[in-house]
Symmetry: none
Subunit: 460 residues, 2 copies
Amino acid sequence: MDPRTYVEKHRGEFVAALKDWLAIPSISADPARSGDVRRSADWLAAHLADTGFPTVEVWETDGMPAVFAEWPATDPGAPTVVVYGHHDVQPVDPVEAWHTDPFVPVEQGDRLIGRGASDDKGQVLFHTLGLRANLAASGASAPPVTVKLLVEGEEESGSPHFAELLKRHRDRLGCDVVVISDTTMWSAETPSMCVGMRGLTDCQIDVYGPEVDLHSGSFGGAVPNPARVLAGLLAGMHDADGRIAIPGFHDDVAEVTAAERGLLARLPFDEAEWLRTASSTAAAGEAGYSTLERVWVRPTAEINGMWSGHTGAGTKTIVPRSAHAKVSFRLVPDQDPLRVQRCVDAYVAGNLPEGVRATVAFAGPGVRPCASDLESAAVRAARAAMGRAFDTEVLFTREGGSGPEADIADVLGAPLVFVAVGLDDDRIHAPNEKVEVPLLLKGAESAAHLWDELAAALRP
Amino acid sequence: MDPRTYVEKHRGEFVAALKDWLAIPSISADPARSGDVRRSADWLAAHLADTGFPTVEVWETDGMPAVFAEWPATDPGAPTVVVYGHHDVQPVDPVEAWHTDPFVPVEQGDRLIGRGASDDKGQVLFHTLGLRANLAASGASAPPVTVKLLVEGEEESGSPHFAELLKRHRDRLGCDVVVISDTTMWSAETPSMCVGMRGLTDCQIDVYGPEVDLHSGSFGGAVPNPARVLAGLLAGMHDADGRIAIPGFHDDVAEVTAAERGLLARLPFDEAEWLRTASSTAAAGEAGYSTLERVWVRPTAEINGMWSGHTGAGTKTIVPRSAHAKVSFRLVPDQDPLRVQRCVDAYVAGNLPEGVRATVAFAGPGVRPCASDLESAAVRAARAAMGRAFDTEVLFTREGGSGPEADIADVLGAPLVFVAVGLDDDRIHAPNEKVEVPLLLKGAESAAHLWDELAAALRP
């Protein structure tokens, strides 16, 4: 049976399994949900065993567990592939903005709605369907490459223990290529492969002034106001051209090449449509760059949250004692998160007036940016597999988001290829996350072809 | 009998009456105490009648009642004075922090401890003792000016019905000068008169960007971030010298005169002590002004609170959909709150990038600043009266806070003078409020002289 027929025949079973998994609220950022993240890992492990993986293990970390599975190729000389995904999900706030319960998955036509439907449970799960389709097509009892799945449980919390996990299990994870399924395509009509992701580091800035909230009549105007100092720090992170103004921040930024700019320009980008997806009435960003370039090949400094003083109803005429912000930085090759952290530390420390102190706490070591070589065998093979599934030419994109991919490539010493079918309007990290089920099926079909293409391309 | 002898002779009787009044818990902010606020008004009305006021009335409002009393001068051509004070008191929370029952007044040496002792029952009551002392000294049966007392019952609740009360009784309240006895002196050793209070207007600024929180990886860097826009608006409210940079804001600011600066500089100000009170390690503010000038004669734009996006534990890499701040502006003569509101509106509207909208909601019409003319006959007379009572030169101060005084002056069309003997360490609005009885007696003595001084100064 050809992969397309197999995949379409098993759609009902696939969606039912995914709904089961989506019902588990595996929010890794919420300590109260740690039991659910573990339940999610156990669910996946059981599903992988059912799929036929001879080896399935739940790998503990100092945080939430990951799931590992391995299915050796029939041919011991065949290449080995590691597939990366994650089984934890984003928080659901503001929960009142959801039209359905985020953890009661609902089908509406071809859409499946629920937290994690696209990011990333749906995209992990298409691999099990794809592998079954590959076996059904070949009639073999094992895939043409050794397939190893590594599905972590803390991606939405910045993967704080993932690098350690990779190092600990480095011997089990030996491979020739890493397949990442945690990104998006250009569109349902224009399938594409991601060839780069931005890195990330994020921090909380806490600014302190007088030791207590002060009456703004008795003291206002003559003591430092930490909220004003914080506003100044935040506003000063960009210059008038929208370029990040933190000294040293740009030192390692690799300017995008003319060749890559040309490739990006081939994408049928509809800015008006993109803005509708963003629910924004205007684009904004660094002068001299297109919207796609701003999102994919330029770094950012983004305020994710801030708070200070009186935030309730009515008025309270105080000078607040402290002010706080959460700021994340998206990084591009060849920025190093730790070096960027030092720049941010120095920037904050260097811009505090007398009477004000501040701390900058980074959530972790950060995530390094990554990029694939467009001319590599692995990228060519993956592009061919997706082309067969989608019956059309596959273009290249990058991702503005971040994952631990650079660490994977680094620790495992293997190149990355991105095979994923999410869409930018899937509302990942937002209320009413959804996935297009037909695209998940194309993902499964791509995965089914991928093992043959990689076996041929990477055979020594 | 001279006023000093009279006042000292009647100290016991005066303190006994004040303790009676302080025992009534007239907390206007507590609906459960409304009967007590009324009892307080009745107590005062009876006391004023005992003092000899020919006219004593309890004036109803839509809230708590005020007390009005009038004692016409013997000479029908004599000036008329309205004395303003209030008979309601602040709540007593946290009541466990009081060392004595807030409504069982206790004498400890020269101190009288109880809620309202300084703010404002003690300062209202010294006027009755002062008026008796004036009559004892002159031997007349009526004061040398027509004295009208207006003692409101909702000052500690923001005087919600006071403007209406003033307008309704405008004809009864006609006067040449308004005496305010609800403020403080520099210190027991350095008697002073307040000659101005800052005004106030405060708003909430709401900034909106994309309609939903967006993933900062997928969209960050290419859509406007409302938190960044708000940070820019807030940071831009001051220039590098700490001067407010909102266009038009300073148009009506009356620069403090060299004469007043000279007088303020004569106050024995201990900045280190002031900073300890503020629990701040440094002073900060507009370049070119002293700490006292910054608090008293310069306007402020103070962030009282702000919030946006993710403010909980952990990280959430979003572009938040909205950002909010509460900002209050302390105003100085001759700023008009409504005109300042228009400047703030225009500043916000004029600094929004495409794709961002904002609203500015002011809490109300605001409070106008007020100031007395140091060279006016009324200020000279009051200063002379206090100088006679304290046997020393009386200096000038201002208040950084705001009150309804400007409205009184405005509605009644008369200048204000502040004659008060509270101290900054009286712990008004805090547990263990106290008043220094010797200062209340000096207040009574000042009041006794005040009617003679004003009669002489204001006689046409």
